[in-house]
Amino acid sequence: MGHPIHTLAGAGETMVLNMGPQHPSTHGVLRVLLELDGETVVRAYPDIGYLHTGIEKSCEAKTYSQAITLTDRLDYLAPLSNNLCYCLAVEKLLGIEAPPRAQILRVLLTELTRIASHLVWLGTHAIDIGAMSVLLYCFREREEILKIFELVSGQRMMTSYFRIGGLALEPPPTFLKRVEALVDLMPGRIDEYEELLTKNKIWLGRTKGVGVLSGEDALAMGVSGPTLRASGVGWDLRKSNPYSGYDKFAFVVPTQTAGDVYARYLVRVAEMRESLRIVRQAAEGLPEGPVRADAPGIVLPEREQMKTEMEALIYHFKIVAEGFTPPPGEVYQAIESPRGQLGFYVASDGSAKPLRVKVRAPSFSNLAALPRMIEGRLIADAVACIGSIDIVLGEIDR
């Protein structure tokens, strides 16, 4: 079947403009076909798939543990959120749970991920609209967060730090001190970003009343995360269906009702402050104990045990060489990633490799709602809208 845009050729006064896939404001390799009447967008067709790497197919050829490394590469701005969602899904399939210390550390690190991801969004979104300096401020703090990731996992971005049944290893002793320093530093820094933008006349002119999406439309299109909450629907999975111990934390879910680009900006900035609250509570209330579940045959034994105990050595060999076999069944685990409702559907046929891993990417559905935001508006607003829904093409195309 041909592309619907072909029916437009010579149909009237409109012209078709190709935006992307190599365009700085498409945040990756997104292509949007715009049908224009002058500078007004009549219709918009997002075209995706340029980053398709077959991650879901590759997962079927790997053991459950090996597939964790692929999840980092989906939403590369929030690798730990992907790790968490996948690990929770497989843990649910197996019927095991991470120990309390690991759960709280997971919350702490995924909230830091949320802040880091929102910082990239804020910086690049501001550049799209013409405020060049904000990016430098945002990346200054993001660097600090990435250093913390490097401290715990050895990697800045492709962390693979969460494992099935807990964490890869106990964080080093200096970890909490670094986190506390960051939590003390950040509120003042967020004030700085807000001073640059929140009451900036140009910023308001470019974002207020632009790209309005009603709450009803947003839900119908499967939109989630800050984009949904800016449209007046206060749905956050951390509150409605808590996972990994989120029910133990006090935080509010920021919501706005305007549904425009500015509302999405306000929601994400407020979310960063709430995430800091969660990180502080997690750091203060971190329980002692192991960071890996006691599940022989599934969780790798301690290095020291492996060298001294025959049984541990056998388990280690079996997990690495063969993997483990969850019971046949299927699970769907959803979490609130920085971009919205991230879901992993994992089906097992009882073998050591997944029968099917499906990633329900929040950006995928959020992008599908883009035409509703930009049709009838100017091209320049399209750029603001694409930035405001904060998409990552890695998880859209998979």
């Binding site: 079947m1 592309h3 619907p4 995706i48 798939g49 398709h52 077959g54 879901e56 197919k57 590759s58 079927e60 050829a61 649910k92 399939l93 019927g95 839900l219 119908a220 299109m221 499967g222 939109v223 629907v233 749905w235 409605s240 269906n241 069944g329 299927e330 699970v331 769907y332 959803a334 409702q341 879901g343 559907y345 089906a347 046929d349 029968l355 099917r356 499906k358 329900r360 995928f364 559905s365 599908a368 709602a369 195309d397 998979r398």
Partner: protein, 159 residues
């Protein structure tokens, strides 16, 4: 799949059975997740009911995807993951479809957000959705041959 006794009192199953008893094939609770299997031909009716019923309100469609159980027939299971903001609950609706002309009715008229998910399922599994407004490939190139997520499609691709 059959309905176990303890599930018969479940609100969703009870309401669905009252609405159209022939449409429900079975239900299962695994790891606290409810799966309801429906007749392939009834998927559109069931979707409309689940979305519009005032006590259920499954207005949020998170995902449409498929599992290929090749060489078992019917080989495809199409899964719809729904969420109700009212019940704060997830629900998986499952419909089976065989390898000969795998076709289901589209649910895009019920949930507009299903559009891209059904296109993806068509692209990667070759399952067609009747009544879809724009059923084209979405991730693979337009002229691609075959459907990569089928189990009989090699991971390395055809050379």
């Amino acid at each position: 799949m059959t309905i176990r006794a303890e599930l018969e009192s479940n609100l969703i199953i009870r309401k669905l059975a009252a609405f159209d008893p022939a449409s429900v094939v079975g239900a299962e609770l695994f790891r606290d997740e409810l799966t309801i299997e429906v007749q392939g031909g009834a998927i559109r009716r069931v979707a409309e009911f689940l979305c519009q019923d005032e006590e259920l309100q499954f207005r949020y469609l998170a995902d449409v995807t498929a599992v290929d159980r090749h060489p078992v027939e019917p080989r495809f299971e199409v899964n719809y993951h729904l969420y109700s903001l009212l019940l704060r609950q997830w629900l998986r609706v499952k419909a089976r479809v065989g390898s000969e002309t795998p076709t289901l009715e589209s649910v895009t008229p019920v949930w507009p957000g299903a559009n891209w998910h059904e296109r993806e399922t068509f692209d990667l599994f070759g399952i067609r959705f009747a009544g879809h407004p724009d059923l084209r490939r979405i991730l693979m190139p337009e002229d691609w041959q075959g459907h990569p997520l089928r189990r009989d499609y090699p991971t390395e691709g055809f050379r």
